[in-house]
Point group: C2
Chain length 513, copies 2
């Protein structure tokens, strides 16, 4: 780890906290629990962190206004403090950016959810939404640049900007352009993509100028981080195809317009200590009892669990089809197995998501109608954004079923084994980023293959106890040894390494005769 | 061209002719008009050709039975003669192979028509259909091998097998295995794919063993032919990804299990002379008058034409949306422009195609209801498999609209300009194979972008006459100079070149001390 204290500017669509106004005019702060937030919490202890993100609700806007739009001090989870700058407001421009471009267009495209014969269609409305996407990216870039100027740089120091995810594809290029226009040193810009980067063929659905704008902006970075080496390679082939950039896949280097961008894989993970602690909380334990009661009684009783957002990429409906096939072909399991699904109804302001949720409900209902008895409910579905119920389900699963058709990483498959108390078996799609790390210890599934998923569930249900224990232990060790702080440390180490090298090269060129 | 006479064995799902039984017990022969059939007609004059294909109907079965299942002599278009061997019968196995695996599974996958959140699902039925696919491929391979033995090989000659398209992916490997098992020399096997080969990511929807079976079989070939270099590269990345084969993209060489397979692009084309002659036939001319009458009267009257199968990859519905946007934003065009769509209702024994045809009908109807008047019908749709009406439409277009979301080559964009009599403008999707050759002379469109397609149609409608003439002439020249015989000649030249090189190498190793 870098021992030196750095000035870091972080940008993401969603901030680490959201605000709401209390009755007494005070602000109520709600801290997020995601990996990024936790990792940067740890970072805040060691470095000067300024975080720029977009206002998501009225509380955020009120908070922003109460400080005159400037950055203000906030406490990070884990004790460090950082500066937070809230930008913009949730307006029509934000809707175009978020509800038309980021989700569903980019999300769908990057998870291969479009059947090209029918979707997407780029209409006048989509073109207008793209201008909104550009404007929101400009809002964030402008604020980042202001913070760059305000926080300044000491002699010999290069400020570091870390930009997150597909909402902000255009920010790296915009920050660089602003620095150049102001005749300031261009900061060290790094970008991390949390979701998959598909092959060039999948990008074809976008207008060429948009693809070029995205790719050119990303190549303004010194380092680009992806979840997996497959994503990193697909990115390199994409810029080769659409920009004619020169790529060196083995070294992970892209040359374009005289600059070099490093392309790396940094698999994200769980904040182990915090997560384990969370699992012991009273509210989780209380929910745990309720979930345990869903497991059919007797020594053969088994509980299959899935924890997901209701996103088509999560493949919930095909999962039900596999379970249905299992129950059809194995009547001996009736009354002995149950499935609990903790499902967060996702993005219900987007039509495709409303449809998908309806399909999920209907599939679960059909299953229970077909197989359910007075004493046995084959599927329990809990539809709310109850994070604690998910953690409680992790504790109680005999089989954790994770079958997305595409997933940048998939933290469920890491969080589950970390806290599970029953040596549960993980059935995991080979289309997740986490499969690269957990593959040897899980039962792999092809998320498109209903038959094979049914067979995998059966294998998981019947696995002998000693093999369960061995695999569960291996999974736990793998996750513990690759904490989310490691994810952030690896990125910072690369940044420091590249900065040192660049500084040495500059020094040598000064010393040369 | 090779001056030597070769023994060629050709295999394809559909044969060059179909048979039906006449009232008097005779067989009525209907010769196909596709590029492959025409190219091999020319070939039959120069070489000994045996063609193996599957029986498609009762007439084919009766013909096959009348010759005891053996090969028989047939006349090719253009005068040469060849031997035809009809295999199998249209049974349930054929249905699994054709209606479940080849279409829609492989066709959909290779044209990126699946939205992965919903489709495809690999079920028990799909697994059974895959076994049918294997069995039909075995039927063809067994017949090919019998013909190999029957036609024999002269000393120093290596027999040549040419296998066509995605229906027969497994044939190359199966032929090689049979030759080896019989301790005969493995023939020179070549394969040509008529449809796109997508990036590795698109193949993920299939069970891994199927992908490996397909790829391993194809690598039993000496040469693999694709429509474009992009397809050839995507294939190489696919075998690299799924088989760990070693690829040299620059040289187009794949090394796998100690063998080398050459990967080449051979863009298919039109049989120029025959097609031009066809366009002058009386029946085409009669249809031409009817189509010309659809063009609104007056000097500004313009006719847009599309000629397609009703396949989702052809993008007919988005095409109507673009036309609708054009008419919405340009009322000055009302009564001045009309669109004629000659649409062949495709694969109506597959549900997805029935749905798509309904969507096409509905979109056309909506358009006419919205804009039509007593004197003006904005869209004329002719739904039948009338090849001659398509040719007649080619003669009469002012704008030829070709906007598929994916297409291996797209012969419409080559046939149209070859015979068009009005210096018509071609609006062409950049996702077609033909775009590589015709790009500079067409108005390019992104098939997903409704707005841009509407703008392209407008540009085409308003193009000055001299520019129209210049572009039309350039298109015509390009197609005339790249006839389908050139496509076949290039493949044969590569085969001869590789055979000569191999023979020389063998000779040298004999002469070495």
């Amino acid at each position: 780890m870098a021992s030196r204290r750095h000035r870091l500017l972080v940008a993401s669509n969603r901030g680490p906290v959201t605000f709401s106004e209390g009755d007494d005019g005070d602000f109520i702060v709600r801290r997020g629990g995601g990996g990024l937030v936790t990792a940067l919490g740890a970072l805040a202890k060691l470095h000067d962190v300024t975080w720029v993100s977009h206002a998501l609700g009225e509380g955020d806007v009120a908070m922003r206004d109460s400080v005159g739009g400037a950055a203000f001090d906030e406490q990070a989870r884990g004790g460090g403090s950082y500066r937070l700058r809230i930008v913009g407001q949730p307006d029509r421009t934000y809707d175009g950016y978020y509800l038309e471009i980021a989700n569903p267009l980019l999300w769908f495209l990057q998870h291969r959810l479009f059947g090209f014969g029918w979707h997407p269609s780029i209409t006048r409305s989509t073109h207008a939404a793209w201008r909104s996407y550009q404007r929101i990216n400009e809002r964030i870039a402008a604020a980042l640049f202001e913070e760059l100027v305000l926080t300044g740089a000491e002699a010999g120091e290069r400020q570091i900007v870390m930009v997150h995810d597909y909402h902000l594809f255009l920010v790296p290029g915009l920050v660089r352009d602003r620095a150049r226009a102001a005749q300031r040193a261009v900061p060290f810009i790094q970008f991390f993509l949390h979701i998959p980067w598909p092959d060039p063929g999948a990008w074809r659905a976008l207008p060429r100028p948009w693809i070029k704008e995205i790719c050119t902006s990303l190549l303004a970075c010194e380092v680009l981080g992806f979840q997996t080496t497959a994503d990193a390679e697909a990115f390199q082939r994409t810029v080769q195809h659409f920009l004619g950039a020169s790529v060196d896949l083995r070294r992970g280097e892209v040359r374009y317009l005289g600059r070099v961008t490093r392309v790396r894989a940094y698999p994200i993970s769980v904040a182990v200590d915090g997560f384990e602690e969370h699992a012991t909380s009273r509210s989780v334990q209380r929910l745990r009892e309720r979930i345990a009661a869903m497991r059919p009684e007797g020594p053969d009783g088994r509980l299959i669990v899935r924890v997901d957002r209701t996103d088509p990429s999560k493949n919930i409906v095909r999962g039900f089809e596999a379970y249905r096939l299992l129950l059809t072909e194995h009547p001996e399991l009736h009354g002995k197995v149950a499935m609990f699904c903790q499902l967060d109804p996702s993005r219900q302001d987007i039509a495709e998501y409303v449809d998908y949720l309806a399909q999920v409900r209907s599939a679960a209902k059909t299953l229970n109608q077909r197989f359910g008895t007075e004493d046995w409910t084959p599927v329990h579905v809990n539809l709310d954004s109850n994070f604690q119920a998910g953690v409680a389900a992790y504790l109680e699963y005999d089989v954790l079923f994770v079958n997305p058709v595409a997933d940048g990483m998939n933290l469920v498959s890491k969080e589950g084994p970390l806290v599970n108390a029953r040596d549960g078996v993980v059935v995991l799609s080979d289309q997740t980023g986490s499969f690269n790390e957990l593959g040897p210890y899980v039962i792999p599934v092809n998320p498109f293959d209903i038959t094979q998923q049914a067979e995998a569930l059966l294998e998981a249900l019947l696995m002998p106890l000693d093999e369960r224990a061995e695999r569960a232990e291996a999974l736990r060790r793998q996750v513990r040894d690759h904490d989310v702080t490691g994810w952030m440390d690896a990125q910072l180490a690369d940044i420091v390494h590249l900065q040192t090298r660049a500084a040495r090269a500059a020094q040598e060129s000064v010393e040369a005769p």
